[in-house]
């Protein structure tokens, strides 16, 4: 009986063996207060599923602020997890956005993610609809 049961069970194949995994990055985008929604729109158009927004304060030097023409130092930071394949497009969009006007200046950087726990969380973050 036991042998029959084992035969019935499908052989377990880890997700990373059966699918090609895409690398992910944590993108942090810091923009002047009130402009986070615009950036989020860009992100969701590119197929990003998760973005976390928080408020902070800028501490740039006086000279830097004069160059950029900023007086308000309140900032919004967006922490988002994106897959590596859309990073070039996102960088282009951000470069364009930051060069629109001196009031839309910002800074963005990314840090590599080394691990994710849970297949469903991974699927959600990389937005793999076809799987």
């Amino acid at each position: 009986m036991k042998a029959k049961k084992e035969e019935k069970q499908e052989k377990f194949v880890p997700y990373e063996k059966s699918h090609k995994l895409e690398k992910m990055k944590l993108f942090v985008i810091i923009v002047p207060f009130g402009q986070a929604q615009t950036i989020e729109k860009y992100l969701f158009n590119l197929g990003v599923t998760a973005a976390f927004c928080s408020t902070g304060e800028g501490t740039g030097t006086r000279e830097m602020y004069e160059v950029l023409g900023l007086s308000d130092s309140k900032k919004q930071a967006i922490f988002t997890i994106v897959k590596e394949s859309i990073v070039p497009q996102l960088i282009e969009k951000l470069k364009h956005r930051f060069s629109v006007s001196k009031y839309s200046k910002g800074i963005a950087f990314s840090v590599d993610i080394t691990s994710v726990v849970g297949v469903s969380i991974y699927k959600y973050l990389v937005n793999n609809r076809e799987v």
């Binding site: 902070g56 501490t59 830097m64 910002g106 800074i107 950087f109």
Partner: protein, 107 residues
């Protein structure tokens, strides 16, 4: 790559961000972003080491060039390290992409 950057994350007690930013700026950092946060220190650890961890914290993110990183981190540690009242925890992460103001070359 000669324009590699590093992210410095600095978690300090509330009110010490000016100290950190002044120290960082002296070593060539252009700016940083402050977030207000709340610490969740381990009570047992606090008793064991005989220190108190005030829950109000500030988190500072600074992006600097790779060559400047060590100097900036050292300066911050001297001003607001764990042995001082700032009780700062400082660590750095490698940054893979960067978009933003490019550094003005020094003459």
């Amino acid at each position: 790559m000669d324009n590699e950057k590093e992210l410095i994350v600095c978690i300090i007690n509330n009110g010490f961000s000016d100290l950190v930013m002044d120290a960082a700026r002296k070593e060539g950092a252009k700016g940083g972003t402050i977030f207000h946060a709340r610490g969740t220190g381990n009570l047992e650890m606090e008793k064991f080491f005989g220190i108190s961890i005030s829950p109000e914290k500030e988190m500072i993110l600074i992006v600097v060039a790779k060559e400047e990183r060590d100097h900036v981190v050292n300066a911050i540690y001297k001003e607001a390290g764990l042995d001082t009242k700032g009780q700062g925890i400082i660590f750095t992460l490698p940054v893979s992409d960067f978009v933003g103001p490019q550094p003005i070359p020094r003459h």
